[in-house]
């Protein structure tokens, strides 16, 4: 079997490429996949590339909302999103971290009000896009390891 067949090409759908190696599962978790869809999803991890190892996610028959996908820039700032139609890439763009991250990361500060039983979602202000750095809207603390704090 040839190398490139490890992960099959898809006819229609979305390919998320250049995911920081090891983070594909967390990316799926952030995107709520496969729960929110019945599409076939394939994941390749530790794929060798020119820029070192990377992960790839392919979602068939579904074009993901770019605004949704942008959230993954938190843990995969170099990722790119490719929309595929009839085996060809119709649109391609790099993920861009939004200015605010709501309900995806929990605050690492145990005494932060966002960790108490209050009717609010966690909320972070993005202070740097690459490398991603975020600050809690409530207590102003920065989580040391963002990936570790994904809800």
């Amino acid at each position: 079997m040839k190398k490139e067949l490890k992960i099959p090409r898809i006819k229609d759908g979305t390919v998320i490429d250049h995911i920081t190696a090891g983070n594909a599962v967390k990316v799926l978790h952030i995107l709520g996949i496969p729960k929110s869809s019945s599409s076939t999803v394939s994941v390749a991890m530790n794929v060798k590339s020119k820029l070192g190892k990377k992960d790839i996610v392919k979602v068939e028959n579904r074009e993901l909302d770019p605004h949704e996908v942008n959230k993954i820039a938190l843990i995969a700032p170099k990722a790119s999103i490719n929309f595929i139609r009839d085996y060809a890439v119709t649109k391609k763009h790099k993920v861009k971290l939004p200015d605010e991250i709501i309900g995806i990361v929990s605050c690492s500060n145990p005494t932060c009000v966002s960790n108490a039983k209050e009717p609010v979602k966690s909320r972070f202000i993005v202070i740097s896009k690459d490398p991603p750095r975020i600050k809690c809207y409530y207590c102003e603390r920065e989580p040391e390891d963002i990936a570790d704090k994904i809800i």
Binding site: N109, T111, V113, S114, K117, E118, P119, Y138, E140
Partner: protein, 316 residues
């Protein structure tokens, strides 16, 4: 002039963090607080906030802050409802802060909140239509303390800029001293940090000072630090920061302020402390002209009067 008036419209504004304010806005608040002093002393009276109600919600006790807020509201002719500690409130029965705030919002024209959780005031502001004033959130922010500290320095030294200010004590955990270092840098004060090695000012705070053009100096030697100082700001070193009593006693002993130490300082050196003090300042200092801490505590009233009047919208 019109531009100025629009910019300085504080009505309905929340007071959550000192960093939410520009230097011009802080100056405006401090100027207004100066006008409030004679009213705060009871020498003059004007019914600025008659018919207005302030909710004073203290989810943890803080006698000084609560009393000075309540005095401020009363001096302006307004009334206060609330509680001074959460036992016996519905919070104890498991009610969320958000729900308590919603209730207070419908009963009053402004809410003062003190809460053990960091970020609590920011959350309160999300659930309240009326302005929220942060009276301390956990180890977090305490903007009215910061404003009254600035007010005190400005009153005693005529200006804040260029003063040599020594911040002494627990500079690591006390976030109020972090806000103060930031605000003093905003004004161009010269800063020296004095603390035991284990309680040093965190780098992120030092970097904030640097971004504002201030290069703070650090020493563990208090005698040297106060030689040319204009202001000595003392904070409490808490017992729970140390592994054992012996180490704690040694550190506390090394940073104790007494008349003998103050001989090394300038004649017009002022000593400040947010209070309550335990053993950091020997009571013998109280009767010297250096001691400003009781005046500083009084200054909480005119500063909070200025804030309440501005955010609720009454005019002196």
């Amino acid at each position: 002039m019109l531009f100025f008036l629009i910019r300085m419209d504080f009505k309905g504004k929340d007071i959550i963090s000192i960093k939410d304010f520009s230097k011009k806005e802080i100056d405006y608040i401090l100027d207004y607080a100066k006008d409030m002093v004679r009213y705060a002393m009871g020498e003059k009276y004007k019914n600025v906030l008659g018919g207005k109600v302030l909710s004073s919600l203290f989810f943890e006790p803080s006698t000084r802050t609560r009393l000075s807020f309540e005095s401020a509201m009363n001096r302006l002719g307004g009334r206060v409802i609330g509680f001074s500690d959460p036992s016996g409130t519905s919070q104890k029965k498991g009610e969320s802060l958000a729900d308590t705030i919603r209730m207070a919002d419908s009963y009053s024209d402004a809410i003062v909140v003190r809460h053990p959780h960091e970020g609590a005031a920011r959350l309160a502001a999300e659930f309240a239509e009326v302005p929220v004033l942060n009276a301390g959130d956990g180890a977090g922010r305490h903007p009215t303390q910061c404003l009254l500290d600035l007010f005190t320095i400005r009153t005693e030294k005529k200006k804040i800029k260029k003063n040599k200010i020594v911040l002494l004590g627990d500079l690591k955990y006390g976030r109020t001293v972090h806000s103060l270092a930031y605000a003093l840098s905003l004004y161009g004060a010269e800063l020296t940090f004095v603390s035991p090695a284990s309680l040093k000012m965190p780098n992120e705070v030092i970097n904030e000072c640097k971004e504002l053009g201030i290069e703070p100096t650090y020493t563990s030697n208090i005698e040297k630090a106060i030689k040319d100082a204009d202001v000595l700001y003392v904070t409490r070193i808490q017992r729970e920061r140390f592994p054992d009593a012996e180490e704690y006693n040694r550190v506390v002993g090394a940073y104790k302020i007494d008349n003998n130490l103050l001989k090394n300082g300038k004649e017009n050196l002022i000593v400040m402390h947010p209070l309550p003090r335990v053993t950091e300042i020997n009571p013998e200092v109280d009767t010297t002209p250096h001691a400003i801490y009781f005046k500083q505590a009084f200054n909480g009233v005119p500063v909070r009067m200025a804030l309440l009047s501005l955010v609720i919208g009454g005019k002196l």
